[in-house]
Symmetry: C2
Subunit: 416 residues, 2 copies
Amino acid sequence: MDSMAWVEPHEKKSTFTQVKVPTITSPKGFTASGLHAGIKRKRKDLGMIYCEVPAAAAVVYTTNAFQAAPLVVTQDGMKVDGYMQAILVNSGKANACTGEPGLQDAYQMRQSIATEMGLPAYRVGIASTGVIGERIPMEPLTRAVPTLVEQLGKEGGDPFSQSILTTDTGVKVVEVRFFIDGKEVRISGVAKGSGMIHPNMATMLAFMTTDAVIEPSLLQTLLREVTDETYNMITVDGDSSTNDMVVAMASGMAGHRNLTPEHEDWLTFQQAFAFVSKELARMIARDGEGATRLVEVEVKGARTLKEARQAAKTVVGSSLVKTAVYGADPNWGRILSAIGYSDATVVPSHTRVWLGDVVVVDGGTSAIYDEKLARKALEQSVVQIKVDLGAGKERATAWGCDLTYDYVRINASYRT
Amino acid sequence: MDSMAWVEPHEKKSTFTQVKVPTITSPKGFTASGLHAGIKRKRKDLGMIYCEVPAAAAVVYTTNAFQAAPLVVTQDGMKVDGYMQAILVNSGKANACTGEPGLQDAYQMRQSIATEMGLPAYRVGIASTGVIGERIPMEPLTRAVPTLVEQLGKEGGDPFSQSILTTDTGVKVVEVRFFIDGKEVRISGVAKGSGMIHPNMATMLAFMTTDAVIEPSLLQTLLREVTDETYNMITVDGDSSTNDMVVAMASGMAGHRNLTPEHEDWLTFQQAFAFVSKELARMIARDGEGATRLVEVEVKGARTLKEARQAAKTVVGSSLVKTAVYGADPNWGRILSAIGYSDATVVPSHTRVWLGDVVVVDGGTSAIYDEKLARKALEQSVVQIKVDLGAGKERATAWGCDLTYDYVRINASYRT
């Protein structure tokens, strides 16, 4: 009971397979494309995902008070019937804080796809990422739309993944496969995000596709729940953006019976969906601007789930913890200090901290440990910090990265 | 009314004089000393302030759940009658998260001064700053106490100021003088703090001395109010520490009538006291680890005072704003984004942002401005960011610094 080992909770075995070469177009019904339209100087900057049938859709949006124009437009369209058939995404300019003209640009983006594809405008979602406050050059964008549509295809997943990147160092794609009613179901996801990343969405975009059969409202509930324990548990720099959006689209082409919580394979779907979300979230944290290491903070012994999440996010977000990880300095005092100001209930006499498997804090004060082993735990590419608050039974995990010289370099000169 | 100029509120003219060579021992009754006891390798690490009479005292403490041992001991003593006669401070080790042995060390520190000075133990305050989780080497500390006491004197202000520093690049001292009932009154303050600095106290210590005549309870109320608008409005890295403490001691030797809010010079005293606090707070922010610039964020047009403070602190604490200031990049989108996630009420169509005197945002979107002038505003040693939220009448100011390569360097290798 009172051993010094971190005890994992009992978890149901996963019933899905992760695909080695994932692509967003793998689920039945989906195609995609991506190209360089001329919004950025050289790299791909415009992409789209298309579903051959209206897809049951779910979307979560940033809570930032300055919500960017594309979010307003997408929300507007989603009100109609919860189905989405295409989503157009640009990088380079965020179309945030651009006032009424920016909003008109966003509606025009939506219309350009609707017209080209012969779809009702409300079935088209749009998303943008890039510099805040600058308008999107609409002329090159609209000129590129016919080509973008022409290039739609199963092989378009990779160009799409590239087209949504900003300071990201690479594409982020995950795919899993599993069976429901004996039919194969696929869930794929692609994300972007590197800076301005913080809970309650992040400067991040994620798009998930599946051929599962599910109603929009249920998909929405699931997406919101899963977002709270995945995308909303990552932080790079504590800055939440104006443009965050996660979109899930389900084509319903896998051919199984409609998924509801009463379906015997509901848990399988839920787990697979959460897995894709979590892996994308981890990839975003791992690719944090300038980061050299992924930091995973697991908290247990919390009084409430909210406090568990708050404590985990505070530790992973602390600049002093982040720099200590960068320097591989097992300065556990910074971890305790962060817990201490997280507002989570802590019982110091029952608090323990592990770096990897090394117990460095026991009873709120230094444990006897091997400094070399503790340092080694911080030199891993995935650094694991585990905390037992000693105050209850709830658990949560948050993901972040170290704070390095390159973070400063990237952000001191982002626009120049 | 709707001009693009930032309008300052009407303020009462200050009725105090700032001293050019300030010292903590200037108010009547106070002496101090500071020396190298051997807690740090070379630099001064032990200091004390002494008042020849019991001084009316007020103290505010960190809200961190892991409150360091010296705070527990000082709080314990202050319960008795609210008077303090001596305070002993060490740097190098914070004596935080050191468990029961650390608490015993703290009581022993207090007793060493009480014995040496012939004072009741409860009249002695103690404070510590430095690495969390490491115990203070008590043998060299107690051995140094007789010398520390012997060296007490009016000229001891400077060695004291030095003895409390950690990563600070210099001492922080402020002094003002003014008249009450025709008698000269002095208020001096000395502070330390550079990293782990964030509202609701910071890794900071501040000690204020005055010869004003005032009751402990009233001084306590004043200190708490002033702390909320000064020390609690600074942030370096978002990390609140285990050891923060601000102590104010009033010897009552200036010879005027007892100060109460009914006294005709109460406002004079209040203003002078707030000025010393604000200047020390600014000095701490200016000396933030690795900082090259002080950043001052003024918010007006807030719905409530709390929201004004929250918005100002969020902008000044944003890593992306901080790196943009370092790079002198007038990337106002980051400022709007920070306001947007601060949870303060914002009316985008009435939101304005100034960099220095340059309006860069008007109505929640880009104003027409000269990029060169905006950049110049960010190249000042004191960078002024002003925001009108357009939602009400409340105002607040927060202070911070830029985020530089040196912040990372200092904190990646703090203990090594």
